[in-house]
């Protein structure tokens, strides 16, 4: 498995298995992919656990490259003080949340954070507008017209904003998502 000759210790693997939703093979695979993003001399086990990979490099992997939410995903999972790079454990966190076996609860929690573009803890009109633009593509010709956008957001708030405060908070979001059977199957990234 370890193409570069680096192997994670058994204890560490067991711990990662306990702390994430990933299987052993998936963790090993993730480590190999992560190590490949590091410079040649840093590809040993100790360094790969310590080093951080900048967004540019992490976004070059094909699984994330084309995703319109890629910057948000990285930002949400980054634990670096300036939120601009991912460590191996952050990378595992990401894969764990997007894995098959993660609970719907945790998936919807992170989906909320990804969609919360201004990081203020609620989805307001601004967030929803940016979300829809990400979904339809940013180009001029692919966007919804202003009136369509307004109608769409009005409809969404009408449906989901239970307490009528003009924004969607986490529990409202999870309430909607829990009734959407497609969500769990679509919120997945596989290496």
């Amino acid at each position: 498995m370890g193409g570069s000759g680096s192997r994670l210790s058994k204890e560490l693997l067991a711990e990662y298995q306990d702390l994430t939703f990933l299987t052993k093979q998936e963790i090993v695979q993730a480590h190999r992919r992560f190590s490949e993003l590091l410079p040649r001399d840093k590809q040993n086990v100790e360094d790969s656990l310590r080093e951080r990979v900048s967004f540019e490099d992490i976004l070059s992997i094909p699984e994330l490259k084309a995703n319109p939410f890629k910057e948000r995903i990285c930002k949400v999972f980054s634990t670096a003080p300036s939120r601009d790079s991912l460590s191996f454990e952050d990378f595992l966190d990401l894969l764990s949340v997007f894995s098959d076996t993660a609970t719907p609860d945790i998936k919807s929690h992170y989906a909320f954070r990804i969609f919360d573009f201004d990081d203020d803890g609620t989805l307001d009109r601004e967030d929803l507008c940016r979300l829809v633009n990400c979904l339809t593509g940013e180009g001029e010709d692919t966007q919804l017209s202003a009136s369509e956008m307004k109608q769409l957001i009005d409809n969404i708030l009408e449906e989901s904003d239970i307490d009528r405060d003009g924004t969607i908070n986490l529990s409202e979001f999870q309430h909607v998502i829990s009734r959407s059977p497609d969500f769990v199957s679509s919120f997945k990234i596989v290496l």
């Binding site: 711990e15 306990d18 702390l19 994430t20 939703f21 094909p62 699984e63 490259k65 084309a66 995703n67 319109p68 939410f69 634990t79 003080p81 454990e89 595992l92 966190d93 609970t103 609860d105 945790i106 929690h109 989906a111 954070r113 969609f115 990081d119 203020d120 803890g121 009109r125 601004e126 929803l128 829809v132 979904l135 339809t136 593509g137 692919t142 919804l144 369509e148 769409l152 969404i156 449906e159 989901s160 239970i162 307490d163 009528r164 405060d165 908070n169 986490l170 909607v176 998502i177 829990s178 009734r179 959407s180 059977p181 497609d182 969500f183 199957s185 679509s186 919120f187 997945k188 596989v190």
Partner: protein
């Protein structure tokens, strides 16, 4: 705090902006932002952390104390290092507990073991990786086709194992089965000699292979081969019931989860826009082309949805006369659909009758190739109908003026009806041949209860028909892929320009493909009583089909522009599958209970009906066992069972109702609480701004 507020929208006004900041400081908002011990709370940058981070972290930690204790570490939405700390704390606590109670320890071991077993079972699933990759490249709808195919494969493998254990093994355990009856061995019910005399040419060999006649007719493939001795009859019948029951249970299990989700989604038809936006993105998609396709797709869907809302609003405002016209058009179109379906069914019936007559002709009987063609005519006709009519339904659906989601469901239902009902028509025409049209007093059927002159071993004949349908279905799929899809792709790749690209873009039509799959499975269910090895053949066929479809998918298809929702798949597919199972049970049960078995072949020869074997063998059991089995079949057992199940059902319905009421009540409560919260916050802000100038 001021630093983080510059982005606030202006309309709130000066008091409003501080209202938002007050609301943001509420404990409920703080809990969401908490990301575990030692980590910055969500949404705060470093400089903010220095100002008031310490205080809020304290508050956050307090707020989420409860959550910490109950959840397993990996289910917390925290970064790894925070989860690690949490796990250590938890392990410490558990250590303290475990000295007192060993039960917790064992429970943990048990859950660990269960998880391991589940992972092991998941590892046993074939093609897990391929199916995942398909989901990634083509989206959830296409993936659901392949996982359904895999599920059907499992059903067939299980059925094959049952047949091997309960039919094949007992047959050979009691010595080599006897050969076919000779041409001169005749009884009151005519004679039966399945082996064709004389040397067989290659053409007739091929014919035999494709039609299940000649040397295949008296082989383990078909019902007629099995001898009537020992307990073979009982095990034969039991294997059919067992595999039917097993399929029923597995399908129910698969559909229940889908049903639960769909019912939840149905109950809030109101939340369709939110679903469309919040769970629209398939995060597994990779590749710039696919992503762009998907984005265009979503844009299109949203626009259509908004338009549909407009249409619905207009439909509400329609005058009575307009309404009447719409209904008139719909009624006429439905009549047209019924007429088309009726014509198709009659056609199938007529063709089957004619084929029987044609095969009698000496001209046909002398040329094996011609015979092959003639014997395949019903299958060819059925497949043609199934190819031609669905596009017509598609056209009709567009004229009816329903919303698009309605249209898809309608088209699907009509196609399902066509597919399964045409099979039933074929069976019906077979039935009328076997039982002389249900007329027990007809001269051909009077002596033996079935038409012994034309069909000396009618069960084998039904098995042969199903065998032909199975083979023909496979041949059609192969031919369609090899002779149409691949050449088309190649030719269109050769000619450049937009025309070539347009013609070269094939889509994987999930609904059509799935219906084909379910149809094939229904054929197998019908036939597996008359042709015990059919599940085994079908296993091979599905394996082949999987690779064929995978190949065509990756080499010729692009993701569909009109998506088929994964939720619809998880609910709708098992439902149709269940329909297929029920429909296929009808002819099988009918022939088991009501038609006399053939006198000259099969394990039930000489019995009144096939079912008669069961009571007969029960009578050989000891007295108590006999009483028990007959009690199970009596009304004294059935009536209480019915009563108990209806009480349980009523209870469940009442429970569901009360939950529904509770939900709407809680919803109202949330609304009032939220209003209270905003009111109080406004008051606090107003007081604050009054105090400040003073």
């Amino acid at each position: 705090m001021e630093g983080g507020l510059h982005w606030e929208p202006e309309p709130w006004g000066p008091p409003g902006s501080s209202l938002a900041s007050v609301l943001k400081e509420l404990p409920s908002a703080a809990t969401i932002r908490y990301r575990g011990p030692g980590v910055l709370p969500w949404g705060s940058l470093e400089e903010e952390e220095e100002k008031d981070g310490g205080r809020s972290i304290q508050a956050f930690a307090g707020a989420s104390q409860m959550e910490q204790e109950t959840h397993p570490s990996r289910e917390l939405p925290w970064p790894m290092q925070a989860r690690r700390v949490h796990r250590k704390n938890q392990a410490g606590q558990h250590g303290a507990y475990s000295s007192q109670s060993r039960v917790g320890h064992w429970a943990r071991l048990l859950t660990r073991g269960q998880e391991k077993m589940k992972a092991g079972l998941r590892g046993l699933q074939p093609w897990a990786w391929t199916v995942k990759r398909i989901g990634g490249q083509f989206g959830g709808g296409t993936k659901s086709y392949f996982s359904l195919l895999r599920f059907l494969l499992l059903l067939n493998v299980l059925a094959s194992v049952l047949v091997a254990c309960m039919v094949l093994l007992p047959t050979w355990l009691q010595g080599t089965p006897p050969g076919p009856p000779g041409p001169n061995a005749s009884s009151s019910c005519g004679s039966y000699s399945p082996h064709a005399s004389g040397l067989a040419s290659f053409a007739s060999q091929l014919f035999n292979l494709l039609s299940g006649e000649g040397y295949l007719e008296w082989s383990p493939l078909f019902y007629g081969f099995y001898p009537a001795r020992g307990y073979l009859g009982v095990t034969y019948l039991c294997s059919v019931f067992a595999s039917g029951l097993l399929c029923l249970l597995l399908i129910l299990r698969r559909s229940v989860s889908g049903l639960k989700q769909t019912l939840l989604a149905e109950s809030g038809a109101l939340t369709s826009y939110s679903h469309r936006v919040f769970s629209a993105w398939d995060f597994g998609l990779s590749g710039a082309v696919h992503v762009r396709l998907r984005q265009r797709n979503i844009l299109y869907e949203l626009q259509v949805e908004l338009e549909e809302a407009e249409v619905r609003r207009r439909a509400k405002a329609r005058t009575l006369g307009q309404q009447a016209r719409v209904w008139l058009v719909r009624g006429l179109l439905n009549l047209l659909v019924m007429a088309l379906l009726g014509a198709a069914f009659y056609g199938v019936y007529w063709v089957t009758e004619e084929t029987g007559r044609l095969q009698e002709k000496p001209l046909v009987q002398q040329a094996p190739l011609l015979q092959l063609v003639v014997s395949y005519v019903p299958s060819i006709f059925l497949s043609t109908v199934n190819v031609v009519l669905p596009p017509v339904f598609n056209l009709i659906g567009q004229l009816e003026g329903y919303t698009r989601s309605h249209q898809i469901v309608l088209i699907l239902i009509r196609t399902v009806f066509l597919r399964l009902a045409s099979l039933l028509v074929l069976l019906f025409s077979l039935w009328s041949q076997i039982t002389c049209g249900g007329n027990a007093q007809a001269p051909e059927c009077k002596d033996c209860g079935y038409n012994y002159k034309e069909l000396p071993c009618w069960e084998t004949r039904v098995g042969q028909e199903m065998y032909k349908l199975l083979l023909f279905d496979l041949l059609i799929s192969l031919a369609f892929a090899l002779l149409f899809q691949f050449p088309r792709k190649i030719f269109c790749g050769l000619c450049p320009g937009p025309l070539g690209r347009w013609a070269g873009t094939l889509e994987f039509q999930v609904p059509d493909e799935v219906l084909g799959l379910i149809y094939a499975q229904t054929v197998v269910w019908v036939g597996s009583f008359f042709c015990p090895l059919l599940p085994l053949l079908n296993t091979a066929k599905f394996v082949l089909l999987f690779y064929l479809k995978k190949l065509t998918l990756f080499s010729t298809c692009s993701p569909a522009a009109r998506t088929f929702r994964a939720s619809m798949a998880s609910f709708f597919f098992p439902l149709i599958l269940l329909l297929g199972l029920v429909l296929s049970a009808v002819p099988v049960l009918y022939s088991i209970f009501l038609i006399q078995p053939s006198k000259l072949c099969g394990p039930f020869r000489g019995k009144e009906s096939i079912w008669a074997q069961i009571p007969e063998s029960i009578r050989t059991l000891p007295r108590t066992a006999q009483n028990f089995f007959f009690f199970l079949g009596s009304q004294a057992f059935a009536v209480p069972l019915l009563l108990i199940s209806s009480i349980l059902m009523a209870y469940t319905v009442a429970l569901a109702n009360s939950y529904g009421r509770l939900i709407s009540e809680l919803r109202r409560q949330i609304e009032t609480e939220a209003r209270n919260k905003v009111f109080l916050a406004q008051r606090a802000v107003a007081l604050g701004s009054e105090n400040r100038p003073l």
